[in-house]
Amino acid sequence: MAAGSLPQTAYLPYDDRTQTLRQIKGYPRSWTRTPAQPLIERPLTLSELTGPTGLEEKLNLGNGDFSCLTPGGPRAIGQLISVSGRVTDEDGAPLTCALVEVWQANSAGKYIHQLDRHQAPLDANFTGQGRFRTGADGSYQFRTIKPGGYPVMESDWWWRPPHIHFSIFGPSWMNRYVTQIFFPGEPLNETDLLLNGVLDPEARQRLIFQPQPTKVESGTNMLSFRLDFVLRGKNSTPALG
């Protein structure tokens, strides 16, 4: 296809009713950091409709197994899990070769991060971060350890439920996407300010992994979870290598 002749994706503003509230009671920084002025509607030009391509030339990709530092090496402590799903646009068209970044706490609820003040042990076999790309059908899969919950140190009651952070590069600047995904049946889900910041119950469910039937085999056993992402855009151009 000749340069400049790619089909243009249509982008509508996010529907606030199916998104997280911008300001949440009990989450102080959502009040001091969210703009007071209304957001401004602008025309979409080449600048917004394009975005970084070939990100793997800039960012290293992993091997999709974050449960150990080297293939076959000692495994991190915790419940071994497999996470999979698909990334599509609003029409259900697969977003191929989209770069995905994930980061999470270890099974004790501790991040490798100098700002994490929670007194919990690090795990020498776990970095809690990884990158990969979606396949031709928009599918992804990685292996990791189920993260632990942890206290929010600025609060006197708030414990974050286990969750995995996702950062996804869609085909353009318009569908760059960042979120966090929760585990089903966790008691802490009931009180989490961020998960419950999505008021629409159906939309909230879309931030919770679906457990998958899991066979017990003679080799490596793990629990499986699935999460499908819908990124903004209709009539999408697939993400560009």
């Binding site: 970095t127 939309a203 819908v230």
Partner: protein, 194 residues
């Protein structure tokens, strides 16, 4: 058919490894980017002028000739091979971010209209449950800048979208352009509906 999945905050613990070495747009694939190298820098501040530390900013801009490294740009074949166009930075404890980059050229729309030189910025932080997006403009004559995105901003706030030359912040021989991101409060930065 389905609506987009809900966004959430990036939170406090975005890995340092995901940001390290990502803020320099002046070189790519072993080459130096063409054009005037600059330092785009400023502070991110929240209500009351308080610095917003540990904020993640991403930038997307065209090369020195105004060409985007993306096949939708009709001039894509001419893009500078030494310029990637995207980068990421984290604010320090005083709220400062730094992007060594090139002074962007003026992109040309499909209809032929030239845009004012600019870079796209997005901001992710604790407390922001959605990303914030804005545009930084570069012009010696902000009041006569002709740009369709700028025109959508109320007159009184347009000047806030221009980076200003600030020689006191020059570093490593790069002329510094300052752009503060005021998330909320006096002189709040105009952000776009996303």
């Amino acid at each position: 058919m389905s609506t987009p999945s809900p966004y959430s905050t990036i939170g406090p613990f975005f890995p340092f490894e995901f940001v390290d070495d990502c803020n320099d747009l002046t070189k790519f694939a072993g080459r130096k980017a063409r054009g005037q190298h600059i330092l785009l820098t400023g502070r991110v501040l929240e209500e009351g002028g308080v610095p917003t530390a540990n904020t993640i900013l991403e930038i997307w801009q065209p090369d020195a000739n105004g060409v985007f490294r993306h096949p939708l740009d009709p001039r894509f074949q001419e893009v500078d091979p030494g310029f990637f166009g995207w980068g990421r930075a984290r604010t320090d404890r005083d709220g400062w971010y730094r992007f060594p980059t090139v002074l962007p050229g003026r992109p040309r729309e499909a209809g032929g209209r030239l845009r004012c030189a600019h870079a796209n910025l997005m901001i992710l932080a604790i407390g922001l449950t959605r990303r914030l997006v804005t545009t930084v403009f570069f012009s010696d004559a902000p009041d006569s800048a002709d740009d369709p995105v700028l025109e959508s901003v109320p007159h009184a706030a347009r000047r806030r979208l221009f980076a200003a030359r600030e020689p006191a912040l020059d570093a490593d021989g790069f002329p510094a352009y300052r752009f503060d991101v005021i998330l909320r409060g006096q002189q709040e930065t105009p952000f776009f509906l996303d």
